[in-house]
């Protein structure tokens, strides 16, 4: 991985506390991390290690309790996400980030095409929903509702939805967590292709160690802290992965 690449995300001393009912949970405890433009980063960690919380903060879905997050867009403008208002965070999500969630989170009353269109309609420079679905190999399933699609197909629709607006960054939260091995590989191949062909910065969080092999760098999280950062000398193609 080229260390000279421009830093897209930089976090310093990132902390996040949650109150769940009467219990307080410290999800992040001082995370320092940099994410570079065009890289494929895999964040590994067990349940409760804070990886989803970190991804949410990077994507502007959540705000840190303490610490800083800075984002530099493709035009070179700097955004301080830790001090951004809800309105600014919404704008950031609208124009810069795409999300893929573990349970796809498709809108069940909309078809595959409409699930993508609902995002492209508010984007500045989107692909057509058809092109985005073709990118994930679903050009034949445009008018199917989520209930008519398999889990893998649903996740590919979710990826199409995330990439259709051509975001600078694609953040994926356990994208293969709900899928079988074969379907999981197919989804990873799509993500790899998006990263390679569009140059989109890609962060994947997973608890599956094997997936780390396809990354430029692997970040290990434990108890809300960065435990280790490891750069792969060579990215392994997704289709070669086995678990």
């Amino acid at each position: 991985m080229d260390n000279d690449r421009e830093v897209v995300f930089a976090t310093r001393g990132l902390t996040r506390l949650y109150r769940m009912g009467e219990v307080t949970i410290q999800a992040l405890q001082g995370v320092d991390l940099a994410l570079r433009r065009g890289e494929l980063l895999v964040m590994l960690g067990a349940s409760g290690s804070g990886k989803s919380t970190l991804l949410n903060i990077l994507g502007g879905l959540d705000s840190p309790s303490e610490g800083e997050v800075h984002y530099r867009d493709a035009a070179g403008r700097e955004h301080d996400l830790s001090r951004a208002s809800q309105r600014e965070l919404t704008r950031f999500r609208r124009h810069h980030v795409g999300f893929v969630f573990q349970f796809y989170n498709l809108i069940s009353s909309l078809t595959a095409r409409e699930n993508v269109a609902i995002v492209t309609e508010i984007s500045r420079n989107p692909m057509t929903p058809e092109a985005a679905l073709a990118l994930v190999g679903l050009e034949e399933r445009l008018d199917h509702f989520p209930s008519q699609l398999s889990g893998g197909e649903q996740q590919r629709v979710a990826i199409a939805r995330a990439v259709a607006k051509q975001p600078d960054v694609l953040l994926c939260d356990e994208p293969t967590g709900a899928l079988d091995f074969r379907t999981g590989i197919r989804v990873l191949e799509v993500l790899e292709r998006v990263n390679r062909e569009t140059g989109t910065t890609l962060a994947i969080i997973t608890h599956n160690e094997v997936i780390g092999e396809m990354a430029d760098r692997v970040v290990r999280l434990r108890d809300g802290r960065v435990d280790e950062i490891h750069a792969n000398a060579q990215r392994r193609p997704a289709h070669e992965l086995r678990w």
Partner: protein, 698 residues
């Protein structure tokens, strides 16, 4: 936003059951509003137009007899605009092939032309030609009831003489929009008629040439009504004036006013109840719907949808439901109002009565519904959209519950898990729970009220005709008649019992309150016309003093022992003081009662009577009717069974509509209740599932 709108339509379709339920509740509110305002506007608009175009008078006064020359003097009273002197008389009629006696009011019109005031609206034929003695115009309701047409013959007893009449025309009058006989509650078009004939003929028949016995007039703009009335009474007292009255005391006008007042209340109270229940239901159900939308909402937020865009999306969802309810309400309201139009056309005789849903009512109801929908929804929507998306994607934190007071008081074994869950839920949202209970109570109350009203009316009629009015026939004489006339009545065919009565128009005054009514003088222990106490026992009339119905005493704010001023409006007009000695419990009427002897003494007259009540042998009714027809002094013959039938017919006609409205209300109430119960059950089941899970884990 196209796709978001598509989502909206599909969400609506998915929620069709709940959406329809809320829409029905909203529709009930809109429907009651539309029915009330449409009826209100149709009635008041038609009335006002008819009054204005046909110069309905503002002040009315009955006089014993006054010379026509007096008109100039009356005209000169400050504030008086137009004056119309008339001859007015009670008349009895006979129509071919109709056996029952018919009562009528005969009014004079200037020979061959329209009067200045209270002009007639001719439906068919023409006014009587000048110089024709036999031509009359009859009220259209009467003509319709008997299928009469211009040219048909009628027979009348005018001042004791049989007179053959011919129908010149059929007309409507602003004076008789509601056309009931002066002493009747309900119109009976077959047995009561209003007729108009040339003044020359009528005055000659009643010995009123160059004189009049009724006056109507209009006032100049800004005139002081009270001062005009005082001045009129002063001038007319010596001519036997019974006291001028305003439209307020005019029978037809008063009836319409009461109907309008009732509609006004209906137009505010019922829609207000329904729309606030709808707003509450919308808030509860939308809250629940939005809870189920937690995930798509979070996703849309994650992809950059703004709070405002999402709030608008869900507001549109609520708005669409509200709009559906509104449209349903307008359609049902317009349909019910057109049904009501039929009933009103029968009872209020307007030349035209346009039932049209006023655009302002549509706009107002739409505004109210949209406001109710938004008020009910904004909190749930705003709470949902303002939640950070990451938080919205996480499972909700366990809700904070507490042990309730009841659990602390009662031993632990007494309350099961389910009871505890329900109690804790209720205690968590005491306001919501109270409002739910209040809403259900209100629905139940409305249902009870509907059923109660119908039963109450039924009971009142039963009481009036089974316990109070026990006579079969009520005869009214043209004028006060010596009591010995009762002897002649006793000998008529089929007459079993005769009881005489004297009625005198009076104004009762107590402190600053006054009420125009009549004093009814009866035998001390009346058998055919009972006077009941609170326990429905027949009372004996007191030797001295006056008895009032409880309602009338309330109107006058008078109690037993108080002294009432009585202004006598007949014969020698004077004021006397009488003690209020007892109260009467009667379901209908504002009567004042005393013994006939006492009333005769008050009037400084001998044993005079105004009429008689008869108990008759039903087998000989026809012979009796024929005999009564021949009696010259009888102004009217009232059959009690027919009067009762008239009321019951009216109720039967309106009851279907009333029933429909209450069915709608009941449906709405049941829906409201079931939605709330559903919410409780869903929550309860949710908790029970959790218990099952816990048990399985154990």
């Amino acid at each position: 936003m196209l796709t978001l709108n598509r989502k909206l339509v599909r969400d609506l379709w998915r929620l069709k059951g709940q959406a329809l339920a809320i829409a029905v509740v909203i529709a009930s509110g809109v429907m009651t509003l539309i029915i009330s305002v449409t009826t209100l506007e149709a009635l008041s608009g038609s009335r006002d137009r008819f009054y204005a175009s046909h110069h309905f008078a503002q002040v009315f006064v009955d006089i014993k007899r006054a010379p026509r020359g007096l008109v100039t003097q009356l005209q000169a009273i400050e504030g008086v605009n137009l004056v119309e002197p008339r001859v007015r008389a009670a008349v009895r009629l006979a129509v071919p092939d109709f056996e029952d006696p018919i009562r009528g009011t005969l009014l004079s019109i200037p020979d061959g032309r329209q009067p200045t005031l209270n002009r007639l609206h001719l439906v068919a034929g023409s006014l009587p030609e000048a110089g024709r003695d036999d031509q009359v115009v009859v009220s259209d309701a009467f003509a319709e009831a008997h299928g009469l047409a211009p040219g048909d013959a009628l027979e009348a007893i005018i001042d004791g003489r049989h007179t053959a009449l011919r129908l010149a025309g059929i007309a409507l009058s602003p004076e008789f929009l509601y056309q009931a006989a002066p002493t009747d509650l309900m119109p009976d078009y077959r047995r009561y008629a209003v007729l108009w004939m040339n003044e020359h003929t009528l005055a000659s028949a009643y010995g009123m040439r160059g004189a009049f016995n009724h006056l109507s007039l209009t006032l100049q703009a800004g005139a002081d009504e009270k001062r005009v009335i005082d001045a009129l009474d002063l001038v007319l007292a010596r001519y036997g004036g019974t006291g001028a009255t305003t439209r307020h005391d005019q029978q037809s006008h008063r009836f319409i006013e009461e109907e309008l007042a009732q509609q006004r209340i209906q137009a505010t109270v019922l829609p207000a109840i329904f729309l606030s229940v709808s707003a509450f239901l919308l808030s509860v159900v939308m809250g629940r719907i939005i809870q189920t939308q937690r995930e798509p909402l979070a996703v849309l937020k994650a992809f950059g949808y703004r709070d405002g865009e999402l709030a608008r999306h869900y507001a549109l969802l609520a708005g669409a439901i509200a709009l559906l309810g509104w449209a349903l309400g307008v359609a049902l309201g317009a349909w019910a109002a057109s049904g009501l139009a039929g009933v009103y056309r029968d009872y209020f005789r307007f030349p035209e009565m346009v039932f049209r849903v006023p655009p302002w009512a549509l706009a107002l109801s739409l505004l109210v519904v949209v406001l109710a929908a938004l008020t009910g929804t904004w909190r749930a929507v705003w709470r949902a959209v303002s939640r950070p998306p990451a938080e919205a994607m996480r499972p909700p934190a366990p809700i904070r519950f507490r042990r309730t007071c009841l659990e602390r008081i009662l031993p632990g074994t007494l309350l099961g898990h389910e009871a505890r869950i329900i109690l804790r839920h209720l205690a968590r949202h005491p306001a919501k729970a109270s409002f739910s209970m209040a809403g259900i109570a209100l629905s139940a109350g409305l249902l009870m009220m509907g059923a109660y009203q119908l039963d109450a009316v039924e009971r009142m009629i039963d009481q009036q005709y089974r316990q109070v009015l026990l006579m079969d026939v009520e005869l009214t004489f043209s004028e006060a008649t010596p009591a010995r006339a009762a002897g002649e009545l006793r000998h008529q065919p089929g007459v079993l019992t005769v009881e005489t009565w004297r009625r005198v128009p009076v104004t009762l005054i107590h402190e600053h309150r006054e009420y125009r009514t009549s004093l009814l003088g009866m035998v001390p222990e009346p058998q055919l016309r009972q006077v009941l106490d609170g326990q429905r026992r027949a009372q004996r009339l007191p030797e001295s003093g006056v008895m009032l119905t409880r309602h009338l005493a309330g109107e006058l704010d008078a109690r037993i022992g108080d002294t009432l001023e009585v202004a006598i409006m007949e014969g020698q007009r004077r004021r006397v003081s009488l003690p209020l000695v007892a109260l009467v419990d009667e379901p209908l009427g504002v009567g004042a009662y005393m013994t006939r002897e006492q009333l005769n003494a008050l009037m400084r007259e001998g044993p005079a009577i105004s009429g008689a009540w008869l108990l008759v042998d039903p087998a000989r009714t026809d012979a009796l009717n024929a005999a009564l027809w021949e009696m010259p002094g009888v102004a009217s013959i009232g059959l009690l069974a027919e009067a009762e039938r008239g009321i019951r017919d009216y109720l039967d006609e309106t009851i279907l509509l009333v029933a429909l409205v209450f069915v709608a209300i009941a449906t709405a109430g049941v829906i409201a209740a079931s939605l709330l119960v559903d919410l409780l059950v869903v929550r309860r089941l949710g908790r029970l599932d959790m218990i099952r899970v816990l048990k399985a884990v154990e």
